[in-house]
C-alpha cells in the first residue's frame, strides 16, 4: 500500500487534474478497471498498471435534469449521460456546450478536464462535450 501512484480513486482524480483519463489494467489477466481498484478482482493479482484512455466515446443514454441539489442548481436544466470509451469502459457526467435538442444516443462526445475544487473532496470535475473535428 505504499505505491507512488496507488491504484485508487484518489489517484485517478489526481491524473484527471493533470488532464489524463486513466484506467487500471491487470498485467496478470488483462482485465481493465474504471473505476480503478488496488487489486484485480478478476484474478486477485496486484500486478497492476495505469493505462491512458482516449478521452472520446459514444453516448449510451442521457437525460435532461431540471431539479438538482443546491450545488448544481446553477446549471439547471442540464443534460447528463453515460459515455462509453474503448474496451467498454464507461463514465457518467454532464453534457455541455450543445443544444439539448441535438443530443442523440450514439453520438460521439469528448471529456473536458476542469481544475480541482478547494474543499472536500478536493477533486477536479469533468464533463462531456461534442467532439471538435
Amino acid at each position: 500500500m505504499a505505491e507512488a501512484q496507488p491504484f485508487t480513486i484518489e489517484q485517478w482524480y489526481n491524473f484527471l487534474s493533470e488532464g489524463k483519463l486513466m484506467a487500471v489494467r491487470c498485467r496478470n489477466c488483462g482485465a481493465k478497471y474504471l473505476p480503478p481498484k488496488p487489486v484485480c478482482t478478476n484474478c486477485y493479482s496486484r500486478r497492476l498498471e495505469w493505462i491512458s484512455l482516449k478521452p472520446t466515446g459514444r453516448l449510451i443514454t442521457y437525460t435532461i435534469i431540471h431539479v438538482a441539489p443546491e450545488r448544481f442548481q446553477q446549471f439547471v436544466p442540464y443534460a447528463y449521460g453515460i459515455v462509453e470509451f474503448e474496451d467498454g469502459l464507461r463514465l457518467p457526467g454532464m453534457i455541455r456546450d450543445i443544444d439539448h435538442g441535438e443530443i442523440q444516443i450514439g453520438m460521439e462526445l469528448e471529456l473536458s478536464f476542469e481544475p480541482a475544487v478547494e474543499d472536500w473532496p478536493k477533486w477536479p470535475r469533468y464533463y462531456f462535450r461534442p467532439v471538435k473535428h
Binding site: 435534469i65 441539489p69 464507461r90 454532464m94 444516443i105
Partner: protein
C-alpha cells in the same frame, strides 16, 4: 423444501404516510408499532419479542444515527436487542430478510421488523441531496446526477430499445393514484388523469413530477414468528414462503444492461424457487414504483410479462385493481408515499391486509399469493418476498 413457510407474519401496522409535522421519526415508529400491537392482542410485547430489526435509509434527515436501540427503547422494548439495516430504499426489506434468517437460525422465536424515514421537515434541495447519497459518490453524485436522473437514464434506454412511451409510464401513475385514493393511510388520496400526468412539470426528461414517488414521513412494522407458534398470536397468519435478495454494481454506468435490473431478476429467481411458484401464480403484488419506469421494469424483471412488454402490460389493464394481477393496490410509492426506510415493510403490510381480507375498498377478491418487491437506490439492491394466505 419448496413452498414451506419460512416464518409467519402475525401482525403489521403503519403510521399515516404523508407530511406529519408534529412527529419525529421515533414518534412515527411508535404509531406503526401501536397499530401492530393493537391488531395482535395475544402478543405480550415485552415478554414475547426477542429482537428488533429496523430499516432506515439516511441519518441525514434527522441528524440521527444509531437509531435501532433508540426506536426499540422508545417502543418499550428495552430488552429486545436491535440492529439497523441499510440498503437505501430497500432498508426495511433487508430488515425483514434478516429477521427471517434470525428465526430460521433458531436464535429467536418472535421478531419485530420495521422501518422509518422522517423526510418532510427538510427542504426539497436538502431531500434531493440526502437521497442522492445512495448513488455512487465519486462518479455519480460528484458529476451532478440525481435519483430521478438515474431512472430517467434507464427510461431513455428502455424507450430507445423497446419503444416504451411516456403515455405508458403515465398510466402507471394514473393506476396508482386511483388505488391510493382508496387507502386512508396514503399520502395523496386523489385520482389523477393521464393528461395531468403528462403535462406536469419536468423533473428529469422524460420523467415528470407525476412519474415520481412522493417524499413522505412514515413508519412500518410487522411481527414475524416461527410458523409453528403463529397460532398462539393470531387465527389468520400469513406465511412468508420465499425470500430473495440480489445485488448489483452501485454505479448505473457499471452495469451492462440499462433497461432491466439484474438485482430484481436475481431476487425474483431466488424467491420463486424457494416458494415453488411461478410469476403466473401471483395474485397481488406491491412493486417498487419509485418512478413509473421502475414499475414497468418490475413487470418485466419479475416475470409478469416479457422483457420490453412492460408498457403494453399496463396498457392492457392487467395490473389494474380489477385486472388479472393487481399491482400496488396500496397506491404504491407513487400515491401512498415513499418514506424510504419504511417502504419495504409497508409493502408487507399491504400484502398482509390483502391476504387476510382486511384491505377494505381496495380488497382483491380471493387472493392467496402475494409478492412484495423492494429496490434500493437505482437498483444495486433488490428484495423479493412471497407470501401465502390461508384463505
Amino acid at each position: 423444501m419448496r413452498g414451506k413457510p419460512l416464518v409467519a407474519v402475525v401482525s403489521a401496522g403503519i403510521s399515516k404516510f404523508g407530511r406529519m409535522d408534529a412527529y419525529t421519526g421515533r414518534d412515527l415508529f411508535l404509531e406503526a408499532v401501536d397499530e401492530t400491537f393493537n391488531r395482535c392482542p395475544n402478543l405480550d410485547p415485552k415478554m414475547d419479542i426477542d429482537a428488533v430489526f429496523v430499516g432506515m435509509m439516511s441519518e441525514a434527515f434527522e441528524h440521527q444515527g444509531h437509531v435501532a436501540p433508540m426506536l426499540s427503547h422508545s417502543a418499550g422494548l428495552l430488552s429486545a436487542p436491535a440492529i439497523r439495516t441499510e440498503v437505501a430504499c430497500a432498508s426495511s426489506a433487508a430488515a425483514l430478510r434478516l429477521g427471517i434468517f434470525s428465526i430460521l437460525s433458531g436464535m429467536y422465536d418472535v421478531v419485530l421488523v420495521g422501518g422509518v424515514e422522517k423526510m418532510t421537515k427538510r427542504t426539497t434541495p436538502e431531500a434531493t441531496e440526502f437521497l442522492g447519497m445512495a448513488a455512487d459518490f465519486p462518479f455519480e453524485q460528484w458529476t451532478g446526477v440525481t435519483f430521478p436522473g438515474l431512472y430517467a437514464l434507464m427510461a431513455m434506454a428502455h424507450m430507445h430499445k423497446y419503444g416504451t412511451s411516456e403515455e405508458q409510464m403515465g398510466l402507471v401513475a394514473v393506476k396508482n393514484h386511483h388505488n391510493g385514493a382508496l387507502n386512508p393511510k396514503a399520502h395523496l388520496q386523489r385520482e389523477v388523469t393521464l393528461d395531468k400526468v403528462l403535462s406536469s412539470r419536468m423533473i428529469a426528461y422524460p420523467l415528470k413530477l407525476y412519474d415520481c414517488s412522493l417524499i413522505s414521513d412514515g413508519a412500518s412494522c410487522a411481527i414475524i414468528t416461527r410458523p409453528d407458534i403463529a397460532r398462539k398470536f393470531t387465527d389468520t397468519p400469513v406465511y412468508i414462503i420465499g425470500s430473495g435478495h440480489g445485488s448489483d454494481a452501485l454505479g448505473l454506468f457499471e452495469r451492462d444492461d440499462l433497461t432491466s435490473l439484474m438485482a430484481t431478476r436475481r431476487a425474483a429467481k431466488e424467491a420463486y424457487e424457494m416458494a415453488g411458484i411461478e410469476p403466473k401464480d401471483v395474485d397481488v403484488a406491491e412493486v417498487h414504483d419509485c418512478f413509473t419506469i421502475a414499475e414497468i421494469m418490475a413487470y418485466e424483471d419479475l416475470g409478469f410479462c416479457k422483457p420490453g412488454e412492460g408498457g403494453r402490460f399496463i396498457e392492457d389493464g392487467t395490473p389494474m385493481l380489477d385486472g388479472e394481477l393487481p399491482v400496488n393496490t396500496s397506491g404504491g410509492l407513487k400515491a401512498k408515499g415513499h418514506p424510504v426506510g419504511a417502504t419495504g415493510i409497508a409493502q408487507i403490510y399491504e400484502i398482509f391486509l390483502q391476504l387476510t381480507g382486511q384491505a377494505d375498498k381496495r380488497q382483491v377478491d380471493g387472493c392467496r399469493i402475494g409478492l412484495a418487491h423492494n429496490v434500493g437506490g437505482s437498483g444495486a439492491s433488490c428484495f423479493v418476498h412471497i407470501l401465502r394466505g390461508e384463505m
